[in-house]
Amino acid sequence: MPEIKSPAFQANVNQAMGDAQLQQALAKLKGGFQVNRVTAAGKLPEFETLRDQATGIKEHTLAHLDFYLEAFEEKTRAAGGQVHWACTAADARRIILELCRQGGAGKVIKGKSMITEEIGLNDFLIHNGLEVVETDLGEYIIQLRNEPPSHIIAPAIHVSKEQVADDFREAHEALDPQRPLAEPRQLLDEARHILREHFLSADVGITGANFLVAETGSVVIVTNEGNGDLTQTLSKMHVVVASLEKVVPTLEDSATLLRLLARSATGQELSVYTTYATGPKREQDPDGPGSFHVVLLNGGRTDLLGGPLNDVLRCIRCGACMNSCPVYGAIGGHAYGWVYPGPIGAVLTPALIGMEKSHHLPHASSFCGKCEEVCPVRIPLPKMMRHLREKSYEKGALPRTFLAGMGFWAFLARRPRLYRTAANFLARALAWAAMGRGALKHVPFAAGWTSERDLPAPEGRSFFAQYRKQKKGEKP
């Protein structure tokens, strides 16, 4: 199980905001992924229609999830693959380890997979004596750094090229120490060279799945680098790890979702490599894995199904929400403290590991609604964050002063006459405290506000105090 750092949210935030290198990287999102998504969507007149249809496809599939998983299993087996069902992360790890042993590993290579992060697979396999190499460049970089990913599609977004160069020098000892590594091109060429050797010597290839197609028993894997395909083609065994909600009904449905995925993620029309893998190599195939296994993981999904957080299961892991989120844009992915960052993480993390460990996440949002606006499958993320806040409130898990303040305000708000008096009093008090100036720099009990900005002074009398006076003056 990957380490949970979500309870330290405030400390994480402070660290992130003081990290100049991270802030530089995050600043690029605005002019990069954010704007590219808008451009790509703008070039496809059917984009909004496809969003509606994709939402419908996912809703339909979730409502019939049992049928579609069974159909997928049947077709996968018909193609010569095997399907393994895992209730928990621990079960999945155990199954995968056993498969790796059967596959003669040795060496395991991996395509980028958030679900394998979620179940803490790499550490587990390494602990059990296997060599594990991430082949996605971003994942490879963070593997060298022993860090978790900070973004679901650009895991090393927070790392500078200088840092990558240092990491490569340290890790690739056999290479000439004097070699130049200042340019991204040089770093990429070195990574390609090093990882090529791993591709060619791997026993088992483990990938995730972007989609599982029930119609044909196919697993869809999408990459720009080509490592998704190489990971499976060059190994003796291909293991796919996927959570239940990855299944979609037909090839046509997968096409609809693919049209939204890259456009929403990076603004590309389509990722470079889209592989539909169906079973192991056929007898006459010159290459390909001898065996093909799909591990279907529940990992708490059925607890979300049919409940108030059901819609989070529609997620296609595009990352558009975090690309567009101003909170993510200020604090980056590691601050969220677990596998999934950004708005999707603010819901999925508490949903999977509980609010006790992650209650800050759904609270650290201004509810601006941008995430829902950009989500290709229209997940109502603010609504679900609000639901989690309600759970927090019901448990009394909010700070006492806050609860007391909220209670007092609500008490007044239900008593108009008292409220009127209190409002006018406060207006006069703050205006007086401002001493003729337009704003206050310090206000007792309001350090949360004044630490960052001045508090504009009220005009001096509340609206209703003035309104009443006017109306009195108007009476004949």
């Binding site: 101003p326 949002s365 829902e372 409130y393 019901e394 409002a423 704003a439 900005r453 609206f463 309104y467």
Partner: protein
């Protein structure tokens, strides 16, 4: 239209911090031919409780508002977030209480944000106001995403004689107010409003306007903290031509 009655929902922030915006709203509505009343039993829409997860208090406070505005044909609100709360969230709040749900829906159906009421319902196309200078308009999140307010204020602002509308680079990015969010997560909110302030300063605008006072208080407070010269006003004040009466938000009163 045979003299429909309009109830003004002033909102708790305008009541407390910026009554001028409330009076400006009344002036705009009366100029457009409305008969405006301001029921005095109104307090708050309940958003602070609702967004904090305190559904119980949100319901209790909302009931007060439903009662206050039951008698009117239209309810107009100089705030996108309060209008959005009523229009989009009240019906769901009372989903388990059929009679109240009916009343909540009735209120939701007749509630409008101020500028969109003027343009979309009353068909106002311009305001007879002179305003010299460069204006930037901030799209408050609820106004934009819940209430669809974007073109309407720009239309009316551009109609002012002498006014030049300048665009922010990221007009649709949240300013970081978010109700209690800004005081619960001040560093994050501070960063968001700092980015917004830089955008405003870089735009060359003399005046910043917007539909929601919470956002305006947040941005004005940050601009002042940064020593920026930009003036901040509620969009109602500017459209009603009432900018000579009150200093801009957070600005020191001019000595006469």
């Amino acid at each position: 239209m045979s003299s429909p009655t309009v109830g003004l929902f002033v909102t708790c922030l305008i009541d407390l911090f910026r009554p001028s915006a409330g009076f400006a709203a009344i002036a705009l509505l009366e100029d457009a031919g409305c008969q405006v009343e301001v029921p005095e039993i109104q307090t708050c829409c309940g958003q602070p409780a609702y967004n904090s997860g305190d559904r119980k208090d949100a319901i209790l406070v909302a009931r007060g508002l439903i009662d206050a505005f039951a008698p009117f044909d239209y309810v107009v609100v100089p705030s996108g977030s309060c209008a959005g709360m009523i229009r989009h969230h009240y019906p769901g709040l009372f989903a388990q209480m059929p009679e109240l749900a009916r009343q909540a829906q009735a209120l939701a159906d007749k509630t409008h944000e101020l500028v969109s009421f003027l343009v979309d319902v009353l068909g106002v196309k311009q305001v007879p106001v002179a305003f010299k200078g460069k204006l930037a308009y901030h799209d408050s999140c609820s106004a934009l995403r819940e209430m669809g307010i974007h073109d309407q204020p720009r239309q009316l602002l551009s109609s002012m004689d002498g006014a030049e509308l300048v665009a922010l680079e990221n007009p649709e990015t949240c300013c970081g107010f978010g109700g209690t969010f800004c005081v619960k997560y001040p560093e994050i909110s501070g960063r968001m409003v700092d980015d917004k302030a830089r955008d405003i300063e870089a735009s060359g605008a003399d005046t910043l306007v917007g539909p929601d006072l919470g956002c305006l208080l947040n941005m004005a407070g940050k601009l002042r903290r940064r020593g920026a010269a930009v003036e901040v006003r509620h969009v109602a004040e500017v459209l009603a031509g009432k900018t000579d009466k009150t200093p801009p938000i957070a600005a020191d009163p001019k000595r006469s």
